[in-house]
């Protein structure tokens, strides 16, 4: 799938084919996409555990359930638990010098091994590593970038996915062997959509002029109509929801799974 169409086709999928497992190779593609994401310090901010629903014992599955997250867990065949590794700063000094050696961080832009060793590490990065708020803030931002790549990789492979609040970490921590230094961020549900991939049409978004600006905050971004039309042809901008049959689609899926209507 072309990039524009991947971005345009992404939806939060909430009805999965509960009976159809996700191939392990597709999860690997998602992980590789996340691993290729932009990250400062070339640090490994996140950790993720892929778990197949049907490989979990009843105790673990029940530990994940709560009154607001139960049907989701039944429907999705694969869960990915995303964490920030709060120790991500460790090793940043060596990783940055490695990037200097690769000319990714060149002298042309002020970088040197001496700068990393003598200033950046002792005066900036090491203090950041001791500031919990900064560690969590940076970790959350950078983990989100990685997850975004994983989401798009899922869509590119015909999978559906949805991010869910991850509130059961304490319950499953010992069962999954999660270290104390991992902070839960999101639980990602993955599977094949039982609903149409369009899931009733593209979700409403506010115009670019409400969110983006040009030059300063007083000048909202003005869309170029030709670009907008191009993006419609390429699939980034798609038919808005709800499709006329969306309510019926949801009703029939709900009945199939015995869910509330």
């Amino acid at each position: 799938m072309e990039f524009s169409r991947v971005v345009g086709t992404r939806r939060s999928i909430r009805f999965f084919k509960s009976w159809k497992p996700v191939e392990r190779e597709k999860i690997q593609v998602m992980f590789e996409a996340a691993n290729r994401a932009s990250r400062s310090m070339n640090a490994d901010y996140f950790r993720a555990i892929a778990v197949n629903r049907d490989d979990l014992d009843a105790e673990t599955r029940d530990a994940l359930r709560n009154p607001t997250t139960t049907a989701d867990l039944d429907l999705a065949p694969t869960y990915i638990f995303w964490y920030i590794d709060l120790e991500y700063v460790a090793g940043a000094q060596d990783r940055l010098k490695e990037l200097v050696e690769q000319h990714a961080l060149p002298a042309a832009h002020g970088w040197s091994k001496a700068y990393v060793d003598d200033f950046l590490w002792p005066q900036v990065l090491e203090p950041i590593s001791k500031d919990p708020n900064a560690v969590i803030f940076m970790g959350a931002v950078e983990t989100g970038i990685g997850i975004c790549n994983a989401i798009n990789a899922a869509v590119d492979q015909g999978l559906g996915t949805c991010m869910h609040a991850f509130t059961a970490n304490e319950a499953i921590k010992p069962l999954l062997g999660v270290p104390d230094t991992w902070l839960p961020v999101w639980m990602q549900l993955v599977g094949y959509p039982a609903e149409e991939p369009e899931a009733g049409g593209q979700r409403p978004r506010r115009p670019l002029s409400k969110i983006f600006f040009e030059g300063d905050c007083r000048h909202p971004w003005e869309e170029d109509a030709e670009v907008t039309e191009h993006l419609k042809r390429e699939g980034m901008i798609q038919a808005p929801g709800p499709f006329p049959y969306r309510a019926q689609e949801v009703r029939m899926l709900s009945r199939m799974y015995g869910l509330p209507e």
């Binding site: 009976w19 997250t69 429907l75 869910l259």
Partner: protein, 134 residues
């Protein structure tokens, strides 16, 4: 309870759907809201079954539909109304316990419990039950 036109004495020409006979639930804002949100509760027979189910659950809990919703809410220190995690969990567990008394199994049992959850959901209580996947 079935909400038929005859039962309401509302026969004859009408521009909208027939009025719903809520029976003992007449005057219950929570029931009315539920029916409004679900398009009148479907066809009259389906609506009648749904109301009877709610009636049985209310009897099981010894409470009214409006109190069922209220039990899932709490007042915050600032005077706002919030969903009570404790109350919601207790109600969710009560639904599971009630379904066990209905003599159903499998998909039918799950769907029955979720129909009751739907009543709470359409009254603003975010709640999920199990899905029938086997």
């Amino acid at each position: 309870m079935t909400g038929s036109r005859g039962a309401n004495g509302a026969g004859g020409a009408s521009d909208g759907p027939p009025p719903v006979d809520l029976g003992q639930f007449a005057g219950s804002p929570a029931v009315q809201r539920w029916l409004d949100q679900t398009g009148g509760g479907g066809d009259p027979a389906e609506r009648g079954r749904a109301l009877q189910l709610l009636q049985r659950f209310c009897s099981f809990r010894g409470t009214s539909p409006d109190d069922l919703v209220a039990q899932c809410l709490r007042a915050t220190k600032s005077g706002d109304t919030a969903i009570s995690a404790v109350g919601r969990r207790a109600t969710d567990e009560a639904i599971t316990a009630f379904v066990a008394t209905e003599g159903l199994a499998g998909h039918e049992a799950i769907a029955l419990g979720n129909r009751l959850r739907g009543f709470l959901i359409h009254n603003g209580i975010f709640l999920q039950g199990p899905a029938s996947i086997t």
